[in-house]
Amino acid sequence: MSAKEPSGADRSHPSDVAMHLAYAEACVVLVECLMHVMAEKKLIPKEELVAAVENAITAKKAMADANWHTHIAPVAAGVLAQISNSLRALPDRSRTETSG
């Protein structure tokens, strides 16, 4: 994961692009945090959360295939793939319950 700043940002005032990117990043982080809370509280099984993210990946790949946001869509699919893999590493509920 790289940490490059958008160019042209004024130190005292974020540019419009930086603000849009910050909101986009905050959205992804927030949704992922909420997914963790939902899994922890056992509101939604992790398999269903993973399925939802996989669905989003398919949609993003379809966008790339249709030449829509061709530079951004594959990167977004990569971000979603990381989230999907990460959600798979949540504790397995049945295993956790058996081991007490």
């Binding site: 994961m1 992922e32 963790h36 590493a89």
Partner: protein, 252 residues
């Protein structure tokens, strides 16, 4: 640098040769010592590279980054490890090797090592042992990535790093605090989870009194619990080696 304990549980008749090989490699690499800062790329991905390295101090890693921004830390190298040993046999390195902290490394040109490898069985054994040891670590890590939860992976990582640092003589046998130069993002890239998830697991370890990360160090506060969490992902070698903790071992 030479420490017979680090070759423990490998065929006993090989230990003498491995220790001699290590000493001979030290001699061969004499005069090549370099100090490098954190974040320095030693081997570029998908590039030709002619050197084999030994880490004298600090941490380094092998990682693979792809065009869509995903990045996986494949292996972490600790003091005493040889790395980029594949330079002996392959021209091109598929993955990047970079420093994670300030390091001191020494190196040898592959042709020079090839000549020594062919002439001296001790040097050949030492090089081969590194490849076998890397394979063991990779097998454990593949199992962890495929089957382990994020908590189990982090527990295994800490047990593994501590055990290796003790075996290489870089940490006292009863130490529970050690330098941990990985950022949370780097940690997540090794554990195969997102930074958000890594942050939650780190916080959970802190809240449960298992381990605390602070100021570039990790402090293991409940070794028995950490060992219990890591247990399912540990291989037979780690489970029976005291430096990795034995079941139910209490160090706190």
């Amino acid at each position: 640098m030479v420490n017979a304990a680090r070759f423990m549980l490998h065929r006993p008749e090989q230990i003498g040769s491995l220790v001699r090989g290590d000493q001979k490699l030290c001699e061969l690499m004499k005069g090549s010592v370099q100090s490098l800062t954190a974040g320095r790329v030693l081997v570029h991905a998908d590039s030709d590279h002619d050197y084999v390295y030994r880490l004298r101090s600090g941490w380094a890693c092998r990682n693979r980054a792809i065009a869509d921004g995903r990045d996986q830390f494949i292996l972490i190298f600790l003091p005493g490890d040889l790395f980029a040993v594949k330079s002996l046999f392959v021209t091109r390195h598929p993955d990047r090797v970079q420093t994670l902290s300030n390091v001191v490394v020494e190196r040898i040109h592959y042709a020079h090592l090839q000549e020594a490898y062919a002439r001296d069985v001790d040097i050949a054994n030492r090089c081969l042992w590194q490849v076998i040891e890397e394979e063991r670590r990779l097998h454990s890590w593949v199992f962890g990535l495929g089957q382990g939860s994020a908590e189990e992976r982090l527990a295994l990582l800490l047990i593994d790093l501590r055990g290796r640092l003790i075996l290489s003589g870089n940490l006292p046998a009863d130490a529970l605090t050690f330098q941990f130069p990985l950022t949370q993002v780097q940690m997540s890239e090794h554990l195969g989870i997102t930074p958000v998830h890594a942050n939650r697991v780190v916080r959970s370890f802190r809240e449960r009194g298992i381990a605390v990360f602070r100021n570039g160090e990790v402090d293991i506060q409940n070794f028995a619990e950490l060992r219990r969490l890591a247990e399912p992902l540990m291989d037979g070698y780690e489970r029976t080696t005291p430096q990795y903790g034995l079941p139910g071992s209490e160090l706190t």
